[in-house]
Structure formats: C-alpha cells, structure tokens
C-alpha cells in the first residue's frame, strides 16, 4: 500500500508560514498533479513528503504509516529535483545505478534495469558520459531515470519536463503515462504546464500561497472550479470575471445585462460572473460590447481581447468572422455558460451544466 496522506501540514521558514495547513489524500496508484503559481509551496510540499524537510505541524503518512520521523532513505520515495541534482563525479550509468547499488541489488539486476530505463529515456548512447557533458534536457532525463530505475512506492516529480523541447516533452509525457500505468506506483507531480496537468493527472491539486484550493479530476476542476482562483488559474486564456448585481431575473453589471441562470440560489446582491473565453463569441449582436484591443489567431479560429465597460474580456471568434484591432464588436455567451461566484470570489455559487466536449488551448 502506498497512498500518501497529508493531515494539517504546516511549514514555515523563519517567520514565513509557507505551507498553511494542507490536507490531502493521494490514493494508491494515483497520479496527482500539483499546480499553482511560482512560490506557492509546491516544492516545499514535495520535500516534506520526501522527508527532506520536517513538518512543523500535522502528519505525513505513506502507505498508512506515519513517517514524520522516518528519514528519507527509509520512506521508499524517489524524487526528481527541479535542479536535477545529478552526481557530477559519476557517469550517467553510475548515476542511474547509485540507488540500486546502495540497496545492494545484484549486479545483473542493476545492469538490466539501467539498460531498460536508458532505452526508455533514450539515454543509451550517453551512459558513459558525465553530467557535465550533457544538455539540459538530457540531464533532466537522467534525473528522471534515476528515480524510475528504483521503482519506489511513491514518485515525486518536481517539474521534470520543463527543460525539454516540445516534441520530446510530448513523447516523455506519453512515456510517463505508460510508466504510471505499468508500475501502478503513486506519483505526485509538480508542473506549470496545464496540458501536462490535464493529460497526466488522475487528479489535480491547485495551490495558492500555501493553501490547497481544490483537488479533483482535471475536468471537474475545469468545469466546476471551487473558487475564483481555481477558475482563473486553469484554462487559457483565463476566465473572464465581471462584477454584477442581481436584479430580478437578471444579472446586471457595467454595460451589460445577462439572464440569471434559473438554478442560481438566492443570496447576496452582488456576485461575480465568470465566463470562459471559449464560451463567449464575437457576434453580430450580444449583451456585451467593446473595442477590440488585440487579436490572437490560432488557425481555424482565434481570440479577441476586447475592452468593455466592465474591463478587458477575452472571447473566441470563428473562422468566418472578420475581427481587427479597433473594431467595435458585440460578444454573446453560449447557452448555459455562466459561472457565478460570491462577490469576493471565495465560493462558487453555480456552474454550467457539464457538456460533452472540452477545449483547452495550450
């Protein structure tokens, strides 16, 4: 059993509280992706799980056992460091074999595992080199190889693909997914890349400033963000937020009036309306109006960035639509596209009913 459980984890450096009470359960064999803005404490959380830092409060459990006082080497976790941390005086082969040698594996077993990993990561021709003679991407793959070769209970990845080119990243992504399926190990994975998060994760955890905002399957987070932060963090371009006021059956803001969704429960007068750019179209007529500030064409369609009375809003336009900077345009939401949050954005009040397809632009 190798589920990872975090109960009320707190961690500060000096007087700075960096991790502010995180509760999180990562099930056996799950692929959990952690996302969040830079400096929000993702690496710190990984290091706490690995045992490289001591928690100030709370409890870390791996496989059901409390490991707060267990040293890293006895936690059976493998970590891929953001800075690789390859051993500069060892060849790639020695780097890969290091953990196995320390655990007294037979020579033959070590050799076969190293070769297998080298083949998988396309490192075969580099085995006799020292890290100094590798490119950034090659080093990153060695760092991953060093973790994989050990087949630990829990993998901790800290942005392992950030230095790879697009093609290699796509390939590695596939490899990782396959690896996960094959080993069935628990993986905790930090990334800034939303595509990675969406494609690899069984669940995604969104952090902000040391607080877990929401955790759940990628689509759930995308479709039903728990608060304004999650809603704005996932999806590109980011969701548009418009301040509005309830007015009978309508939601009224500066320069627009939208029909209030029927399932919106009654409550405070002021709300925040969220509209994904994908759900907003440049159209001949619509409830929102403004001037085009910038245009991003992505082939068959694109996004227009429009200055409205309620602030800048991004909206999608179809291939046939002519949009150019300076045009006065109207914007029309798709049917049932409205997310509604409390005025301060801390709680979501409703989400659109789930649709079949999902579009995420990277």
């Amino acid at each position: 059993m190798s589920e990872v459980t975090l109960n009320g984890i707190k961690k500060s450096f000096g007087s700075n509280l960096i991790v502010k009470g995180v509760d999180l359960q990562v099930g056996q064999g799950e692929f959990l992706v952690m996302v969040g803005p830079s400096g929000c404490g993702k690496t710190t959380l990984l290091r706490l799980i690995a045992g490289l830092e001591q928690v100030d409060a709370g409890e870390v459990r791996i496989g059901g056992a409390r490991v707060n006082d267990v040293p890293p080497r006895d936690r059976d976790v493998a970590m891929v460091f953001q800075s690789y941390a390859l051993y500069p005086h060892m060849t790639v082969r020695e780097n890969l074999a290091f953990g196995l040698t320390l655990r007294k594996f037979p020579q033959a077993e070590i050799a076969s595992r190293v070769d297998e990993v080298a083949a998988m990561l396309e490192l075969g021709h580099l085995l006799e080199r020292k890290p100094k003679a590798l490119s950034g991407g090659q080093r990153q793959r060695v760092a991953m190889g060093r973790a994989i070769v050990r087949r630990p209970k829990v993998f901790l990845f800290d942005e392992p693909l950030s230095n790879l080119d697009t093609a290699l990243r796509v390939q590695m992504r596939g490899e990782l997914a396959r690896l996960h399926r094959r080993l069935g190990a628990t993986m905790i994975y930090v990334t800034h890349d939303q595509v990675e998060a969406m494609t690899l994760a069984t669940r995604v955890a969104v952090f902000n400033a040391g607080v877990l905002q929401q955790v759940g399957p990628p689509l759930e987070l995308y479709n039903r963000p728990a608060n304004r932060f999650v809603a704005g963090f996932l999806g590109s371009p980011a969701m548009n937020f418009l301040e509005a006021r309830r007015d009978g059956a309508n939601l009224v803001g500066k320069g627009f009036t939208l029909l209030s969704p029927a399932d919106l429960s009654p409550g405070a007068a002021n709300v925040l309306v969220g509209l994904r750019p994908q759900d907003l179209r440049v159209a001949a007529l619509g409830p929102l109006a403004g001037t085009v500030d910038a245009v991003e064409r992505l082939g068959f369609d694109g996004y227009a960035f429009v200055n409205t009375e309620s602030g800048p809003v991004a909206a999608r336009f179809d291939k046939g639509t002519q949009v150019s900077v300076g045009d006065k345009v109207f914007l029309a939401p798709m049917a049932d596209a409205l997310h509604v949050f409390t005025e301060d954005g801390s709680v979501a009040l409703r989400h659109p009913v789930e649709r079949e397809s999902l579009e995420v632009a990277s």
Binding site: A50, M79, F81, A85, Y87, P88
Partner: protein, 726 residues
C-alpha cells in the same frame, strides 16, 4: 643670514680639517653583553684617554660572530681588533685572518697556559684577556669542608643526598662533554693519541664514564641536568655542590653562602680533575691598516687598568698576572679561587681535531647516562660516530672526464637541435616580430629565477662533486654519492645512514599529511554545519596557527615539551601521570615533532577543504538521501570524490612542504635522540654546518633530496591527470 651661512661653512671646514688630523678610529668587534660589555667600554675609553685614538665598538650576536669575521676580514671590511675565545684560533689562522704578536707580547705578563693556548707553530696570536674554566661550587652551610679527593666526595655524597626529598649531593650538566672532560683527564684518559687524532676507546674514558654513571645510578646526582635546573636546585639548597664556571656566580641567590674551590683529585690515579681552559683573547686582524695601533689597543685591553676594570665590572678572571696585585682583585675570593682552580686546567686544544670531538662525545654521554650503553662499550660507540662524521677525504678524481662529458653533451645537444630543427622559411625576427617586447616582459622574472633558482641549483650540483675540508675543495667525482648510497661507515639502520633518514622522512611526511588532512577535513565538516553558532569566530581562531610564523610556534611547542617546565608534562603531573622525557626516545620525540607540525599544518587543509565543501551543491546530499544513502555513505560516495580535485593538489603541496619542514625538526626535537628524528633536509644541514663543514657531502644529500622529490612530483602528475582530463 649671510653670516649664518658663513658660520656653517666655517664649522664644516673646521670639522673636515679635524677629521683629517685625527687618525681613523680603530674598529673593535666583540660578542659581549651586560657587565662584560660595560667593562670593555670602560677599558676602551681609558685607551682613548691615554692615546687619543678613538675606538668604534661593535657588538655582534654570538651565533653569527665567527661567520661574520671569516667573511668580512678577507674583504677588508672587518675590524682591526676582535675578541674571541681561543678554540677557533687554528681555524682563523688557517684562513690568514690573524696577525702574530711577535715583538709586542711579553710572555711573562700572562699565565703560561693562557699564552700556550694561543700558540700555533711557535707563533703566538692574540693577547690573552681572561680565562674560563670549571671549579667546584660548594654550599658552605651544607658542606663545611669541601672534598679534595673523589674518595672524600664519595664518602660525603650519600649524607647529602635524599632522592625521595629531591635532594642531591652533586648536580652539574653531566650530558655535556665540556663538563665531563675534568673526569676524563682525572682518570688519566688522553683525548688525543700520539698522532693527534681523537681517541675515545680508552680505559680512562671507560672509568670516567663508569664513575659518573655510578653517581647517577646511586641517586647522588639527578638525571638529565640542564643549566637552569642546576641553578634552581643550588639556590633552593637542594643540591650541595655543583661544577660550573665563573658565569654561575651571577646566578646564585644572595642568601646562599658558597665557596669556590678547585675540583677534587681522583683518588684512584692521584691526578687532579683538570677542566678545560678557555682563553679569551684580543686578536689583531691581519688586514688592519693601522697595525701598530691595533696591537697597542689589543695589548692595552689585556693588561693593567683594563684588567682591573674587566675583573671588577665584567667579573672576568684576568689572564694578566699583575692584575692579581690590585687590592680589589685580591679581595675578590671568587676571582682568586677560580684563578687557583684554573692552575691545573688544560688549555682546550685549538685544533680542528678538538672541534670534531663534541658530537661523538655528546652522543656517548647520552648513551651511557640516559640509554643502556655500558661505559666499557661507550668509547667504541664514540669512535664509530667520530669516523662516520669525519670521513676521510675520498681519493681525488680528475674532473677532465666530467668536463669532457659535459662538453660532448653540450655539443651533441646543440648539433642535434640545429639538425632536428624544422627548416624555417622565415627568419626568427619575421616569425616573432614582438620578440624584444616579450623579452622585456619576461626578463625580470627570468632574472629572478636565474639568480634564486638556477644558479644556486647549478652551484649545489657542482659542489656535490667536491670534498671540502677547511677551505680546501677537492674534486672527487661521484664519491660523495657512492658513500651516501652505500652507507659507508655505518649500517643502514643507524640514524646517520641515508636510508634510515629517508625512512624517517617518509614516515614523517605520511603521518603529517594524514593528520593534517583528516583534522583539517574534520574541522571543515564541523565548520560547514549551518547550525553551528559563531562559525566566523571559530574559522578565524582555527586559522591563527597558520598565521603565526612557524619558528615561533616551534619554539613555543619546544617549551611545552620541556621535561621539567613544559606545560604538557605539567598537565601529565596534574593528572597524576608520570612526566615524559620527550626527547630521549625516538617515538616520543617524533610524536612531539608531529604534534607541532600538525598544529601548524591543519589550518591550510581546513581552509582548502572548507572551500571545496562549500562548492558542493546541497541538493546532491538530498538526492543521495532519497536514494538511500546514510550519512557515512554520503560522505564516502559524494563528499570525498567531490573534494578530491581540490584536495589532491593541496595534499601534494603539503607533502612536499612537510618533506622539507626543516624548522620544526631543527627547533623542536633538534634531531634528538642521537639524530634519529632528523629528516633529510635537517641532516643535510648538519653535514654542512655542524659536522666539519662537509659542504660537498651535504650538497650530495641535497641532490638526492631533489631526486626523491622529483620522482614524487612525476608520480603525482600522473595522479592528477585523470582529474584534469575530466
């Protein structure tokens, strides 16, 4: 204003005139201090008053005095008159530094044995000023009637000794041959045979050593006595009698009542114990330009009023017979007692052979009194040492084959270079248009290298092919090397042999480097710990040993290892442990050297290690920790390999430094016991400057040291190659 200028000009003219009229002042060199210096100053003032001739006095440090004289006088830069003891006489005379006193010295003015001491081949050089010899100091409260024979002495001593209370009948510097000589002569032991060669293996030697050994074994005399110990014990009344010279009178506490008497007569032989007589004389330089005046000064210093002043102010024992007519001198019992005691004294021979006696005798006395050597066997030991130290001159070789060989090699090399040189289509100037500028840049450094490295190296190399004896160089080819490498004259397990010393040197280097690196690394690991408070303070403190000049540290440690007064033995005693006589056994003497050098050596390794440690990224340890490495494995598999590139050059450097760490060996153990802890460099130094100036032999040692270090450097370059490649 004008008048002032005129006055100044006038004064200058007058003083110039005066200088012209007056004779050049006489230059007088000496090595006196304190009362003796004051007395000499008074005496020269008297001389100037009497003759109008001024005297410029220059006091030199005793250690450098002889060398200064032998260097300055031949170049006309020396003194007109200088004061020295007579032991060096033959040496100075051999180098023609001295003017004979024929015609000016009146033998009857001085005690006969003092004039005899200054004779070489029938000529007298120098005017005897004072004499120094040994006598018996007796505490009159403890010993009302001083012994006159050894039988009386032996009867008296047990009543005065009580080792349990730390009281002894007699104490003197028994390890020093100068103090043992009276015993040797009292037992009728000659020091030189009929041919004038030093002889040690004699019945007299054996009996004198046995006598002294008996005194020590029966606890009538303490062990390992130094001058300082004698002073303490005598002043405390814990020692009733001591043997010492006139200088000791000044060290006796005012409360102690004492007398000075002649040394007793040896009852078995009926011969008085005759001490060595040292004569201090005023010598006239052979290069003095005012020879007549210089003789006048020298003679004046040795006679009459000067004698009186030197006696009363300088506490010297005058050699001038008439001096004892002065009332003050007559009344001074100390002076007259010493005069009495010195009557029987043997003038210390001024021969080269005498200079060769000291080291073998020192070894012998130690072997008998501190080691287990039997007195009968000691003479043979000294004899072997003597023969080892004073090698016969190897047969003279002709330098022709060597010169021819060198010529042929130079010619062959030159020809080969010209022939092998690839044909150049351009002239030298065309290829190197900036050559003159380049030469100007390189020249200062090249000149420095030439003067400081290449020339001394070539001179040393050449010197190693010569034998040196009293200023005479003889070409002997490779004989020095053959003697060293064949260990001629002593077995390879003796401290004098090259192989023994080489083994000690290697052990020394290895032990030191291991300790320096491990302590330095250990401290660096501690200092690196970010949790350690006041790291900066510790760092500075730990670098201090490195910042203090190493000879000062060496002298401090030498003091701490002192048997009686050292802090280390003090600590042992405080812990109820036996104090250790550090420099009488190889193991402890070696350990003392190592401790001192480790104190000096670890900060360098610590600094290098600290720098290297700080450049290891901390994530490597985290990665290793996650990979399953314990702290020890991390140290072995991460820290050590990553330290290697920085530590290896430091270790190589440190090993070479240690290999040639002369200061510590020379100052701390001084090679004790018996030269066993000497390393190659200090041994080379001794051959050159302490063993009959065998410069050629010492140079051959140096060449061998060079060869060893050259081999080491080639080897270490190999070691470094893989590091550089990666």
């Amino acid at each position: 204003m004008n008048r002032l200028v005129a006055l100044v000009l006038l004064a200058m003219a007058w003083s110039a005139h005066a200088a012209e009229a007056q004779p050049e002042p006489l230059k007088l060199w000496h090595a006196y201090r304190g009362g003796e210096e004051a007395a000499l100053l008074q005496a020269t003032t008297l001389f100037t008053e009497k003759t109008g001739v001024r005297v410029d006095m220059l006091a030199l440090p005793y250690d450098a005095y002889a060398a200064k004289l032998t260097n300055a006088i031949p170049h006309g830069a020396g003194p007109d008159v200088f004061i020295f003891n007579h032991e060096r006489l033959r040496n100075f005379q051999g180098q023609n530094l001295l003017a004979p006193t024929t015609g000016t010295l009146v033998r009857a003015d001085y005690f006969a044995n003092t004039v005899a001491a200054l004779e070489v081949d029938g000529q007298v050089y120098g005017y005897p000023m004072s004499l120094k010899s040994l006598a018996l100091y007796v505490n009159t409260k403890l010993v009302p009637r001083p012994p006159t024979t050894t039988a009386e002495l032996l009867a008296l001593l047990p009543t005065l000794s009580n080792p349990a209370e730390g009281r002894f009948g007699l104490a003197y510097e028994s390890g020093d041959f100068y103090f043992h000589a009276p015993f040797l002569f009292g037992f009728d032991g000659p020091l030189f045979d009929a041919t004038g060669r030093a002889s040690f293996d004699t019945p007299g030697m054996a009996r004198s050593l046995a006598f002294v050994k008996k005194l020590q074994d029966e606890r009538m005399m303490p062990q390992e006595v130094s001058g300082a110990l004698v002073k303490t014990l005598f002043n405390d009344g814990r020692v009733a009698m001591t043997i010492s010279g006139p200088w000791f009178a000044g060290e006796i506490a005012p409360s102690v009542r004492y007398r000075v008497v002649a040394l007793p007569t040896v009852s078995e032989t009926g011969t008085p114990m005759k001490p060595f007589l040292g004569v201090e004389a005023a010598f006239v330089s052979s290069r003095s330009e005012q020879s007549a005046r210089a003789h006048e000064l020298a003679r004046f210093l040795s006679l009459g009023e000067s004698s009186r002043v030197r006696t009363t102010v300088g506490r010297q024992i005058p050699a001038n017979v008439a001096a004892y007519q002065f009332q003050e001198v007559k009344d001074d019992t100390l002076i007259s007692s010493f005069r009495e005691a010195a009557k029987d004294a043997t003038p210390m021979p001024n021969t080269l052979e005498m200079a060769r006696v000291w080291e073998p005798m020192k070894l012998t006395l130690r072997a008998v009194l501190q080691g287990g050597t039997r007195p009968e066997d000691a003479g043979a030991l000294a004899d072997r040492r003597y023969r080892a130290l004073h090698r016969e001159r190897p047969p003279e070789a002709s330098p022709m084959p060597w010169l021819t060989l060198a010529g042929v090699m130079a010619l062959g090399g030159g020809t080969a270079w010209v022939l092998r040189r690839p044909a150049q289509s351009q002239t030298f100037r065309q290829r190197y248009p900036d050559v003159s500028r380049a030469v100007t840049y390189v020249a200062p450094a090249a000149a420095g290298l030439l003067v400081l490295v290449f020339i001394p190296f070539a001179v040393g190399l050449t010197l190693s092919l010569f034998h040196h004896d009293a200023g005479q160089y003889t070409f002997v080819g490779l004989a020095n090397f053959v003697d060293i490498l064949a260990s001629r004259g002593y077995s390879i397990t003796e401290p004098l042999s090259f192989y023994f010393t080489l083994a000690v040197t290697l052990l020394w280097a290895v032990v030191n480097v291991v300790l320096h690196v491990s302590i330095g690394l250990g401290l660096a690991l501690i200092l690196k710990d970010p949790l350690l408070k006041m790291r900066g303070v510790y760092r500075v403190l730990l670098i201090i040993p490195w910042a203090v000049p190493n000879y000062i540290t060496a002298l401090m440690w030498k003091g701490m290892f002192h048997r009686q007064f050292g802090a280390i033995n003090g600590l042992l005693v405080a812990l109820d442990l036996e104090p250790v006589s550090w420099f009488t056994r190889f193991s402890t003497a070696f350990a003392a050297n190592v401790a001192t050098n480790t104190w000096l050596g670890f900060p360098f390794m610590m600094v290098v290690a600290l720098g290297a440690l700080q450049s290891i990224p901390p994530e490597l340890y985290e990665a290793a920790e996650v990979d399953g490495a314990s702290k020890w494995t991390q140290f072995r598999r991460i820290t050590l390999p990553l330290l290697k590139p920085a530590m290896l050059p430091a270790v190589i450097l440190g090993s070479v430094w240690t290999f040639n760490m002369f200061n510590i060996i020379y100052l701390v153990s001084g090679g004790e016991p018996g030269g066993a802890t000497d390393i190659l460099v200090s041994e080379a130094f001794r051959w050159a400057f302490q063993r009959n100036e065998q410069y050629g032999f010492a140079a051959a040692y140096s060449v061998l040291i060079f060869v060893v270090l050259m081999g080491w450097s080639v080897f270490t370059r190999r070691l470094m190659k893989p590091e550089e490649a990666s």
